[in-house]
């Protein structure tokens, strides 16, 4: 009896786990976004470009060209910037109002409507350089892509 209860509990656990995996997109899973942050801090520039969606959103600016995305990561690296000691404080789906946290402009509103994917997530990440908002979505194999970021936020 005890054994069948344990089996039943294990089966339920597995079912719940599978169900949760099926409902929470990769781009909104804590461990996958953490893996993305680790890659953003350590991967070479080619990999960073591969992990970056285009058009890319930097604060209120839409970056279209691959060359400019490459420049973005190259400059950040040369400046000594990484999402150092990154801690995900909050992670959830992008909403209709998310754009205002980047820029309260028509262009950024439309960027979220047109270019952020269905599974887009918004991560609030604290680092030694301040707090950043990162838009995640889609994936390259098991790693979500970065669609844009803003920060460090003031206050």
């Amino acid at each position: 009896m005890k054994r069948s209860l344990r089996t039943l509990a294990a089966a339920l656990f597995v079912a719940l786990f599978v169900a949760s995996c099926a409902t929470v997109p990769v781009a909104q899973r804590d461990n996958r976004v953490q893996a993305l942050l680790e890659e953003l801090n350590t991967a070479d520039i080619d990999r960073l470009v591969e992990l970056s969606a285009r058009p890319f959103l930097l604060d209120g600016e839409i970056i279209v060209l691959e060359r400019d995305v490459r420049t973005l990561w190259t400059n950040l690296r040369e400046a000594g910037f990484t999402f150092d000691a990154a801690t995900i404080e909050d992670l959830g789906a992008v909403t209709d109002e998310t754009y205002r946290q980047f820029s309260d402009s028509m262009e950024v509103r439309v960027w979220f409507e047109r270019y952020a994917p269905e599974d887009a997530g918004l991560a609030r990440v604290s680092t030694t350089h301040g707090t950043f908002l990162i838009v995640t979505g889609d994936r390259v194999r098991r790693t979500p892509m970065i669609f844009g970021f803003t920060g460090p936020q003031e206050g």
Partner: protein, 348 residues
């Protein structure tokens, strides 16, 4: 995932008015022949005025409003029948637009960034297009010319054959075979120079433009602001023309309904209402042209300028950087005030 929202009823009304009048524009015969893709390398993208993005492929046609975006390993060659050949280099945004000049629809082909090489044949037999960048437009006549657009918004024209007249800030320079000119954004053309004997490499030129921007970022911002102001004035003028023409056109349409005699009604429609409707359509084409040109300058020049400065200064934001950001915010605020009213979501 997200619902499209409109910011106000006035904007919605204007959009509906535009849609009706764009129908008139669409019905008019296009002056320019569509450009077809005859060769490509890599994975260049096609962006349409409807806001869709797709991979470009062999045989696809580009019409007014379309853009080609090439990546670092991409290259595209387009042909307009026997009229012209257009080569779009890597890291380039090439756009075809239309504008009404002196009652004639004219094609404007431009690259906001990167470089494009054009070869136009005199046998085209139609009004030759204008070419340029997001900040400068040039008239051409039977020409082989390469147009470069730099990160600081400046433009470089190099002519292999034919004639090119480059106009900026109210001043013009005429170029003929083996001549070139550089034009700073918002400023008049520089001194023209001989191309022969002067080795020019786009990568070197682009690097020097980027270097100049980094040496004087505020100066570059001012140049962009000057050009945006010019676009703003043009767009506002044409928008007022549109409002005036539309008011008269609407009144004329009402008058048509009041005319009882069939022959008289047809004559009034052809001689009074249709020219007004055409004027209305031309005004829409032109205010949209100037607004979209401003958007290109914002997207492909101003935006990357911000990215350069932000990413270089993300850890140490000194007084010069803060001054840059303040000026940048000011320009973006002016852009929002001046142009958003003329833009549609599909433009973004």
């Amino acid at each position: 995932m997200l619902q499209t929202t409109h910011t106000g009823s006035g904007r919605t009304r204007r959009a509906l008015g535009c849609a009706a009048l764009l129908g008139i524009l669409a019905a008019a015969p296009a002056l320019a022949q569509d450009a077809s893709v005859v060769y490509l390398e890599g994975e260049p993208e096609l962006r349409t005025p409807q806001g869709t993005t797709d991979w470009l492929d062999f045989g696809m046609s580009l019409a007014a409003g379309d853009s080609v975006v090439t990546g670092s390993n991409d290259f595209v060659e387009l042909e307009q029948g026997s009229a012209s050949t257009i080569q779009v280099d890597p890291d380039t945004v090439f756009t075809i637009r239309e504008v009404e000049v002196d009652g004639q629809r004219q094609t404007v082909m431009s690259n906001s960034v990167g470089s494009v090489r054009y070869r136009f044949n005199r046998i085209a037999g139609r009004g030759e297009p204008r070419i340029g960048t997001s900040s400068v437009v040039a008239g051409i006549r039977g020409t082989e010319v390469t147009v470069y657009a730099g990160a600081d918004g400046s433009s470089l024209f190099l002519v292999d054959s034919g004639e090119v007249e480059v106009t900026s800030a109210g001043q013009s320079v005429s170029l003929t075979e083996n001549e070139g000119v550089e034009v700073p954004v918002g400023g008049p053309p520089g001194e023209k120079f001989e191309v022969i004997g002067r080795e020019l490499n786009f990568a070197d030129w682009a690097a020097s433009r980027r270097g100049d921007f980094l040496d004087d970022p505020l100066g570059s911002l001012d140049g962009v602001a000057t050009r945006l102001d010019e676009f703003s004035t043009e767009a506002a003028t044409w928008y007022q023309n549109y409002l005036d023409a539309k008011e008269q056109s609407d009144a004329a349409r009402e008058r048509i309904g009041e005319i009882q005699d069939e022959q008289e009604r047809q004559t009034y429609r052809d001689e009074t209402w249709r020219p007004l409707a055409d004027q209305t359509g031309a005004a829409i084409l032109n205010y949209r042209y100037h607004a979209l040109s401003a958007l290109s300058l914002r997207r492909y020049v101003l935006g990357p300028m911000y990215m350069e400065m932000k990413t270089r200064n993300i850890l140490q934001q000194d007084a010069q950087y803060r001054e840059f950001v303040d000026r940048f915010d000011e320009i973006v605020g002016s852009f929002e005030d001046a142009f958003v009213q003329y833009l549609e979501d599909t433009d973004i």
